[in-house]
C-alpha cells in the first residue's frame, strides 16, 4: 500500500488522484420539458416519488429502518437511550442528547468524489439533528444520548436524499420506541423556470434555480426545519412551502402505515 500524503493507513489506498471519465454533453432539455408540464421520469410536477419504508432490519439496534424512494436507498439505525460515552459531550442533567451521523457510501452518488474529505457529511448530520430534535421528547431522557446512524446506499438528488434520510431516521426512532411528539415527514421542491417541482431527482436538481427543503410534523402541524437556497419572491416561497406541506402529508401516510406494522 502506497504512502502518499493524505493516505490513511487504516484503509486500502488507491492512487493519489483519480477522476471519472469525461461524460459527453447530455441533452439539456429538462428546462423546456418542465414548461410543457413534463418531467424526465414521467411524473406529474407535484407528485413525489412513491415511498417504500420498512422498520426493524438491524437486529442489534434499538430501532432501525430502510427506505427506498425512486433511486434513493437509505438505511438507518438508532441506539439508545444510553449513557453518554463521548468525551467532551455536553452533559445536561435535564434533557437528553440527540446525535446524528450521516454517511454516504462511496458508490452512492454521481456527484461526490471518491474519499472526499469535506464537511458535507457533518453539515447534513447537523441538518438531521435540527430537523429531528424538536420531534423527540428529549426531556424524557435526562443524562442519556440517543444516537442515530444513517448510511446512504444510493442517492438521487442531494435535497431529496436529505429529505429521505429524515423520514428514514424518524421511523427508526419510532421503531426504537423513543418517545416522540410526532414522526417527521420531509420533502424537497426545486424551482425550474419559475415552476416548483416536487421531490426533484438528480437530473432536475442540476437545472434548478432555487430549492426548499422542509421537515414537517403533520399531526401537530408544526415545521421543524426548513432551508431555502436560491432567489425567489416571497409569494413563490410561500407557494413552495405549501407544496412541501402537501407532499409531506402524503408521504406521512405511508410512513404511518409501516410504523403500524
Amino acid at each position: 500500500m502506497s504512502g502518499f500524503p493524505g493516505s490513511d493507513r487504516r484503509l486500502v489506498n488507491g492512487p493519489e488522484r483519480s477522476v471519472p471519465p469525461l461524460e459527453p454533453n447530455t441533452d439539456g432539455n429538462i428546462r423546456d420539458s418542465i414548461i410543457q408540464n413534463k418531467r424526465p421520469s414521467g411524473r406529474e410536477i407535484l407528485q413525489p416519488r412513491p415511498l417504500f419504508i420498512k422498520s426493524d432490519l438491524v437486529n442489534n439496534a434499538s430501532g432501525s429502518a430502510y427506505l427506498e424512494q425512486g433511486g434513493i436507498k437509505i438505511s438507518c439505525s438508532v441506539y439508545g437511550p444510553r449513557p453518554i460515552k463521548k468525551v467532551g459531550a455536553i452533559v445536561s442533567s435535564t434533557t437528553g442528547n440527540l446525535e446524528c451521523e450521516f454517511k454516504f457510501s462511496q458508490f452512492s452518488s454521481s456527484w461526490r468524489k471518491i474519499q472526499q474529505r469535506d464537511s458535507e457529511e457533518k453539515e447534513i448530520s447537523q441538518i438531521l439533528t435540527q430537523a429531528l430534535g424538536p420531534a423527540v421528547c428529549l426531556h424524557m431522557f435526562p443524562k442519556s444520548s440517543i444516537d442515530v446512524f444513517v448510511t446512504v446506499i444510493e442517492s438521487d438528488g442531494r435535497s431529496a436524499t436529505i429529505a429521505a434520510a429524515i423520514k428514514c431516521a424518524s421511523l427508526a426512532l419510532a421503531d426504537g420506541s423513543i418517545d416522540m411528539y410526532d414522526m417527521v415527514s420531509c420533502c424537497s421542491v426545486s424551482m425550474i423556470n419559475g415552476f416548483w417541482i416536487v421531490d426533484s431527482d438528480q437530473k432536475e436538481e442540476n437545472e434548478e434555480d432555487a430549492s426548499i427543503l422542509l421537515a414537517y410534523m403533520p399531526s401537530s402541524q408544526e415545521i421543524t426545519h426548513t432551508i431555502q437556497t436560491g432567489k425567489t419572491s416571497i409569494e413563490q416561497t410561500q407557494n413552495g412551502i405549501n407544496l412541501c406541506l402537501d407532499a409531506c402529508t402524503k408521504l406521512y401516510e405511508s410512513m404511518m402505515l409501516s410504523a403500524a406494522y
Binding site: R10, S18, V58, A61, Q106, T151, E154
Partner: protein, 285 residues
C-alpha cells in the same frame, strides 16, 4: 410472548455460554441449524444504478452491499500497464452496536487487507484495466458496506465483491471455461492533444476474473464443537477460527486459522469436505 419463551430469552441474555452449550450437547445450534449447515444465502446483482457494478449478499441476517465505481488515474511508474483494485470494508455503527463511529476499526482493517491480498493478480489480473500505457488506467473502488452484522463478515464480503465484479446484467454468457465476464467498463478514448479520457458511445471493455472464489468460515467453541458459518453470538463464544477459500477447480486458494485453540486432523477433514459442499452451493447462486 409466552412465559417460557420469555424465560429462555432472559436465560440467553444472562448465561449465553450455558444457553448455547445446552444446544451444542444435543448437536444443534440455537437457530436450528446442525453443526455443518450454512445459513441461507441470497444474492441480488446490479441493484445500484449509480455504481458501475454492485451486489447485495444476505447470509442469514448478515447483509452486505458491494458497489464498484470505476475512475481514471495514472498508473504507478513501476507498473505502467496495470490498474488498481481498491477494496474497503465499512463496518459502521449503523450495522451493529459492536462498532464505534470514526475511523475504520480493527475488524474492518483486517477484512479489507485480507480481501486486498486475496484478489491479487492470480485472481484478478490488473493489466485488463489499461486504457493507455503509462498514462491512464482504470481504478476500481470497491466499497463493501455492511447493513446488518450477524457474524461471518469474511464470507459475505468476498461473495459480494465477486458478484459485484461479475455483474449480473452483463453475465449472460461465459466466454470460456476459465474466464468469466465481469464489470463492463465504459468505453473511453484517450485524447492525445488534451491528455484527457473521454467516455464514448459503444460497448465497453469487459473485466474478467481468472477464477471464482468460494469462501467458508468455521469456528471452534470449547475445543470440541466445530461450527460452520458462525453467527455473531457464536463468534463471541469461539476461541478458534478457520477460514478457507476454494477456487473453481477444487483447489485451496487461501487458508487461515486464527485464535489460540488447536484443530485436530479429523476436524480439518470435516472442514475440507464442508468447504467442497459449500462450493457446490455457491456455484448455483
Amino acid at each position: 410472548m409466552s412465559t417460557d419463551l420469555f424465560k429462555a430469552k432472559i436465560f440467553q441474555k444472562i448465561h449465553p455460554q450455558e444457553f448455547h452449550r445446552r444446544f451444542f450437547s444435543k448437536k444443534l445450534r440455537t437457530d436450528g441449524r446442525e453443526f455443518n449447515d450454512f445459513r441461507t444465502t441470497k444474492v441480488t446483482q446490479d441493484g445500484i444504478q449509480v455504481a458501475d457494478g454492485s451486489s447485495t449478499v444476505r447470509l442469514g441476517k448478515t447483509t452486505i452491499v458491494c458497489g464498484i465505481r470505476a475512475e481514471v488515474c495514472e498508473p504507478k511508474l513501476q507498473t505502467p500497464g496495470k490498474g488498481y483494485l481498491v477494496p474497503n470494508v465499512k463496518l459502521t455503527p449503523m450495522c451493529s452496536n459492536k462498532f464505534a463511529p470514526g475511523p475504520p476499526g480493527l475488524l474492518s482493517q483486517v477484512v479489507s487487507d485480507h480481501i486486498y491480498r486475496l484478489f491479487d493478480e492470480s485472481v484478478f489480473p490488473l493489466d485488463q484495466l489499461l486504457i493507455e500505457k503509462g498514462t491512464a488506467v482504470w481504478c476500481l473502488y470497491a466499497d463493501i458496506v455492511c447493513l446488518n452484522y450477524d457474524g461471518n463478515i469474511f464470507d459475505a464480503s468476498i461473495i459480494a465483491l465477486m458478484l459485484a465484479l461479475k455483474n449480473g446484467k452483463y453475465n449472460t454468457f461465459k466466454l470460456d471455461i476459465i474466464y468469466y465476464k465481469l464489470v463492463v467498463l465504459p468505453k473511453v478514448c484517450f485524447d492525445e492533444t488534451s491528455g484527457s479520457v473521454n467516455r464514448v458511445k459503444g460497448e465497453g471493455s469487459k473485466v474478467t476474473l481468472t477464477t471464482e472464489l468460494f469462501p467458508s468460515t468455521f469456528c471452534l467453541v470449547e475445543g470440541s464443537y466445530l461450527l460452520t458459518d458462525p453467527s455473531m453470538d457464536e463468534e463471541d463464544l469461539a476461541d478458534t477460527f478457520f477460514f478457507i477459500v476454494m477456487d473453481s477447480s477444487d483447489n485451496i486458494v487461501n487458508m487461515w486459522k486464527r485464535g489460540a485453540g488447536h484443530i485436530t486432523p479429523d476436524q480439518t477433514d470435516i472442514i475440507y469436505e464442508t468447504a467442497k459442499k459449500r462450493k457446490l452451493q455457491l456455484e448455483k447462486l
